[in-house]
């Protein structure tokens, strides 16, 4: 996707503001068309969209809390995009400051703390910073850091991205007809709101003529920009599905891995299209720094993948404990959901917590103190498959 972005900015739309406007205007059309196709029925029961996201419920107009999250996600994305194009226009060498966008993971750790009201464990902090530092090292350039550009990246750009990811995560966790809000509707609606905000913001910075120019360029180069936005659609749908699975900071840190994967791709593209793509600098000390960056990213990822504990607690309770026990169990940190069941056990509790130590401290120590519980069994999850 980044490769097609570079192609378009070099060959088709050199002005970054106009590029942003064109992308979102064409992108809105492409995304609405995708939503219409996804809503078509594959058979009597299923929409075509369920191939991409099994939770897809067809065309769905957001309301109330969901609408609020999507509008705020759109606003965050618009702030981040406008800041990005401002950095590109302001600095002679944006590649010297753009690697610092990877620091948004640090902002997301704070976001996760706000959601889960819990401190990250040490191994997570180590892993996050290894990944962030690695991603920065891989994407570093020889350019001189422009302080105004850096301030823009660390301020509105990263905060905009934070708002975008945070609100998407909140929207993704909303349940509609028993299923999580699907990633296709989420992506389409958040992009539509982003487009509205960008159409409002961009002319304030570069003048109203940018709208007319964007429409002219969008029509002239519709298919190239549409292809770029089609790729963006698939990339973001997968990203949003991942957001439904885990913590924002973890998903974002893992997404930083793309800088490592983009390195060999850029090498191939620079060899095939030397006039569009710049050959990454891998010589001498600079090459060594990039290799160290790659090692950091992989070490961080490995550490992160071993940090989480998932388990079930099967509980037998005293007669008449009812919803009182259900509520008590649901307030325990690390509890994902509590199900009152009919069967051998009265309650099945699903746990997702950051370490075994925290599972003992935050969950088991609380469970043993609940008087309504007669007996319980802890079952550790070794491997999991989840419909997300």
């Amino acid at each position: 996707m980044v490769a097609t972005d570079v192609w378009i900015t070099v060959r088709v739309v050199p002005n970054p503001y106009v590029f942003a406007l064109c992308s979102f205007m064409v992108g809105s059309i492409v995304h609405v068309l995708i939503l219409i196709i996804a809503t078509a029925k594959m058979n009597r029961k299923k929409f075509i969209g369920t191939v991409l996201d099994p939770n897809f419920l067809g065309f769905f107009i957001p309301k109330n809390g969901l609408l609020k999250h999507l509008i705020l996600a759109g606003l965050g994305n618009a702030i981040s995009t406008i800041s990005y194009v401002y950095v590109v226009a302001l600095t002679q060498d944006p590649s010297s400051v753009l690697p610092f966008t990877n620091l948004v993971t640090a902002y997301l750790i704070i976001g996760d703390l706000m959601i889960e009201k819990e401190k990250p464990v040490l191994i997570e902090v180590h892993a996050f910073f290894m990944i962030i530092l690695g991603a920065i090292l891989v994407s570093l350039s020889r350019g001189i850091v422009n302080l105004a550009g850096l301030a823009l990246v660390l301020g509105p750009m990263n905060l905009g991205t934070f708002l975008y990811v945070y609100e998407q995560k909140k929207a993704r966790t909303i349940k509609i007809r028993g299923k999580r809000y699907d990633s296709i509707n989420l992506r389409v609606w958040s992009l539509l709101f982003t487009t509205i905000f960008i159409i409002i913001m961009a002319p304030l910075i570069v003048g109203p003529e940018s709208i007319v120019l964007s429409i002219v360029i969008s029509i002239a180069h519709f298919f190239v920009i549409a292809l770029d936005m089609l790729l963006a659609f698939f990339a973001y749908v997968l990203y949003i599905r991942a957001l439904g699975m885990g913590k924002m900071s973890v998903v974002n840190a893992l997404a930083s891995v793309s800088v490592v994967i983009s390195l060999p791709l850029t090498l191939i593209l620079a060899w095939v299209f030397p006039d569009v793509y710049i050959l990454p600098d891998l010589s001498g000390v600079f090459g060594l720094v990039r290799i160290i960056g790659i090692i950091f990213v992989f070490l961080g990822m490995t550490a992160l993948s071993f940090s989480e504990v998932v388990g079930y607690i099967l509980i037998k309770s005293k007669p008449g404990s009812g919803s009182r026990l259900l509520k008590k169990l649901s307030t325990i940190k690390g509890v994902e959901y509590v199900s009152a069941t009919a069967g051998k056990y009265d309650y099945i509790v699903r746990i997702k917590i950051r370490s075994l130590g925290k599972a003992y401290e935050n969950v088991l120590q609380k469970i043993i103190k609940i008087e309504e519980i007669i007996d319980f069994v802890w079952i550790s999850v070794l491997k999991e498959w989840e419909l997300v």
Partner: protein, 84 residues
């Protein structure tokens, strides 16, 4: 009509866990499949339209080669952190 959620707790023959896990992942109604260590070997969470459908589904699961025993728990009420 409200959907019916249920947990199916499964014990399998030694050496068949991976096969059973793969077969279960092909079931459309399964939303979570956890390979576990403890009293049960696999825990499956399913969402179906009715108890009749749940019965048919458990029948289907029983036919998977390697399964020794299943215990089904129907969810009567649930509190989830993700529900808003």
């Amino acid at each position: 009509m409200d959907k019916v959620n249920a947990y199916i707790l499964i014990n399998v023959k030694v050496g068949t866990t991976a096969h059973v896990f793969n077969e279960l992942s092909k079931i459309d109604e399964a939303t979570h499949i956890s390979l576990t260590a403890g009293e049960f070997d696999i825990i499956v969470r399913v969402t179906v339209n009715s108890l009749e459908e749940l019965f048919n589904l458990t029948e289907k699961i029983h036919k998977i080669d390697g399964i020794i025993k299943t215990v089904t728990h129907v969810v009567e009420k649930e509190l989830s952190k993700t529900e808003i």
